[in-house]
């Protein structure tokens, strides 16, 4: 779909400040509310703009630990990816799964209530996942920036 400057301006504001009402958004983008509504509807129809997701702050719910686990898989087994991913989806504390091209094959974002709980999940659930060749852990200290903004 071809985007013009108005589409880009609207998208930039929607992504930077998703909490804006339609009227505020129109104001920021310098268009009438009717134009903003029509353009956004079109972007939704074309699938450029999808559903809005609520983001959960797990720390507010007492899940204090967040660890990024980076896996290298044993790729001599052609089913390694599928079987690993299927098993990872069954672990409730896994909140995000990403696959990569690079030194890392798969990354799981894992949350836990505290370090003791994390140890438990790591030993009982993570190390039990199939076809692991190597694991590295990055423990989240702080999120400095977390945006969906795009240089449109």
């Amino acid at each position: 779909m071809q985007l013009d400057d108005t589409d880009r301006r609207l998208l930039r504001h929607v992504l930077a400040e998703p909490e804006l009402t339609a009227a505020e958004l129109a104001g920021r983008a310098g268009v009438t509310p009717a134009t903003a509504w029509r353009r956004l509807e079109k972007l939704r129809d074309r699938g450029v703009l999808g559903r809005t997701e609520a983001m959960i702050d797990w720390r507010a719910l007492g899940w204090e630990v967040e660890v990024s686990l980076r896996f290298t898989l044993d790729k001599t087994n052609p089913r390694a990816f599928d079987e690993f991913l299927a098993a990872a989806r069954e672990v409730p504390e896994v909140i995000e799964i990403q696959t990569f091209l690079g030194r890392v094959d798969v990354r799981l974002n894992v949350i836990a209530r505290d370090m003791g709980h994390y140890q438990e999940i790591y030993r009982d659930r993570i190390l039990a996942l199939p076809h692991i060749a190597d694991i590295e852990a990055l423990m989240l200290v702080a999120t400095v920036k977390d945006g969906a903004g795009l240089p449109l």
Binding site: R51, T52, D57, V144, P151
Partner: protein, 152 residues
């Protein structure tokens, strides 16, 4: 820390998938009146359990064909303030996420680019020139899924 009951968890499961649902629809699906659902959504938002709402976008339709995660190690620990690095890296428009981590790397960055050539430009001109930046590892994102986490 906020304690959740089963109804709160059911509401969160709905909103994680579709944050635009109105209170009436949320109430209908979890067996509450519209006003009771509205009160619960407001409480979850005010308690910070719902930390925000974010629209999904089709990045490739917007011309961003490549997402890369960078692991960055700072070279001169202690000499360059972390704040200087964090401020400079957060100002790069293509860098959507900056996380301070413990482990093999000091920072984890999510970077969007139009294509690999554009990524190379961002890496060389923007990232490698950041104050204090040392070793950098890049992994190109192939797929990504978010899971509801321990809300079941």
């Amino acid at each position: 820390m906020t304690a959740l009951d089963d109804t709160d968890r059911a509401i969160l499961r709905l909103l994680v998938a579709e944050a635009d649902l109105g209170a009436g629809e949320v109430g209908r699906r979890v067996g509450l009146t519209q006003s009771a659902a509205w009160r619960r959504i407001r409480r979850l938002t005010e308690a910070g359990v719902i930390r925000g709402r974010r629209p999904r976008v089709d990045l490739s339709a917007l011309g961003f064909g490549v997402t890369v995660f960078l692991g960055v190690k700072l070279a001169a620990k202690g000499r360059v303030g972390l704040e200087d690095f964090e401020r400079a890296v957060s100002a790069i428009p293509e860098v959507q996420v900056v996380q301070h981590v413990l482990g093999l790397y000091d920072y984890r960055l999510r970077v969007v680019a139009r294509d690999i050539a554009d990524f190379e430009r961002i890496l060389r001109r923007r990232v490698m020139t950041l104050p204090g930046v040392g070793q950098v590892e890049a992994n190109v994102l192939l797929s990504e899924e978010r899971l509801p986490g321990p809300l079941g």
